[in-house]
Symmetry: C2
Subunit: 202 residues, 2 copies
């Protein structure tokens, strides 16, 4: 998705331990950002990753670098799952499963919202990255589900993304509580099963 990460082309350009550590750093940062926000101490992230702070700063010179890398990595993981789900479930089910997965993605991003709106120009590209990856991913699932008659047509992928985003981002609501109930309502509302008709036709 990005350029090469120094693995496939030619001889080993990046040492294996370096890549392992980068991975551990991103994993640790993801967990700690979710738990304590994006301002969590650098030492804490390095410790959880099992590396020294020097390694953290060498790989991610600024806090924004790390935040952006974590964000993109999770976006990529979430969109990749759309493909997996689509190939292992009926379209309607795949769509529902992925929307729940997306809900978890949003719920884990609470700490990020503040950084996004902080005015730091380093984060300007993130909303675009968000949309350019999620919109096609959802569109694929949605189209497939519409094709087999599992959900109604006429839903704009981006509007659905925003709707769930707004539901899941409600401050103070815990991920497993009311939020997911609301999202389930939304998912149910998409369905076009026997015995259900669009509200307008009632």
């Amino acid at each position: 998705m990005d350029g090469d990460h120094g693995q496939e082309a030619g001889g080993p350009r990046v040492r294996a331990d370096a890549r392992r550590n980068e991975d551990a750093l991103l994993e640790a940062a993801k967990a700690i950002f979710a738990a304590s926000g994006v301002d969590a101490p650098a030492r804490e992230i390095a410790a959880r990753a099992g590396v020294g702070v020097g390694t953290l700063y060498r790989r991610f010179p600024s806090r924004a670098d790390l935040v952006i890398a974590v964000f993109k990595r999770e976006v990529d993981a979430c969109t990749a799952e759309a493909v997996v789900l689509a190939s292992g479930h009926p379209p309607g089910e795949a769509l529902a499963l992925w929307l729940r997965r997306f809900t978890r993605f949003i719920a884990a991003k609470r700490g990020l919202a503040q950084a996004l709106h902080s005015g730091d120009p380093a984060f300007q590209a993130l909303p675009d990255y968000f949309r350019q990856n999620f919109e096609p991913a959802l569109a694929g699932l949605l189209d497939a589900a519409v094709d087999v008659g599992a959900v109604r047509s006429g839903i704009e992928p981006y509007e659905l993304l925003r709707a769930i985003g707004n539901l899941a981002a409600i401050k103070g609501a815990e991920p497993e509580g009311e939020t997911s109930v609301m999202v389930e309502l939304l998912i149910d509302g998409l369905r076009l099963s026997a015995g259900k008709v669009p509200p307008a036709a009632g």
Copy 2:
């Protein structure tokens, strides 16, 4: 405006040096907030005020306490000036002078905007304080100017406040530059002098 500050009623309740220091602290914080934002180091503020950090923390235990106190103090100073100007100038002139004064107030508050929108509940009362003080102050000047025919009628004080606020708060614009030019246009637009007619009638 607040409760008593321990001066007028009964015997001296607060030591004179304490009040002097509080004043110096607020004055120093005002200058440093304007220059470096509301996250400026506590030591720097204390040093400029000529007191120790202990004194700063005794008087303003949290950063929000200091920010709020500075904000209210400046609001009070700006509204008080409305009265002074009204009693020393013709109504139309008093209005123009005060609007320029208000523009300077807003321009000095750039650092505050971020704190205001930080979600800290300590700042929730500030927008109300802003409006409840500025709106009557401007309304008085405006009414007087309308009465003598210096400016057109039908202007809502709060909308004018917001208009200037939006002009003066444009990021990157220096207080003495384009911003004041735009505000002057606005002030001119208010005037109802011979030879000018409202745009709609042209």
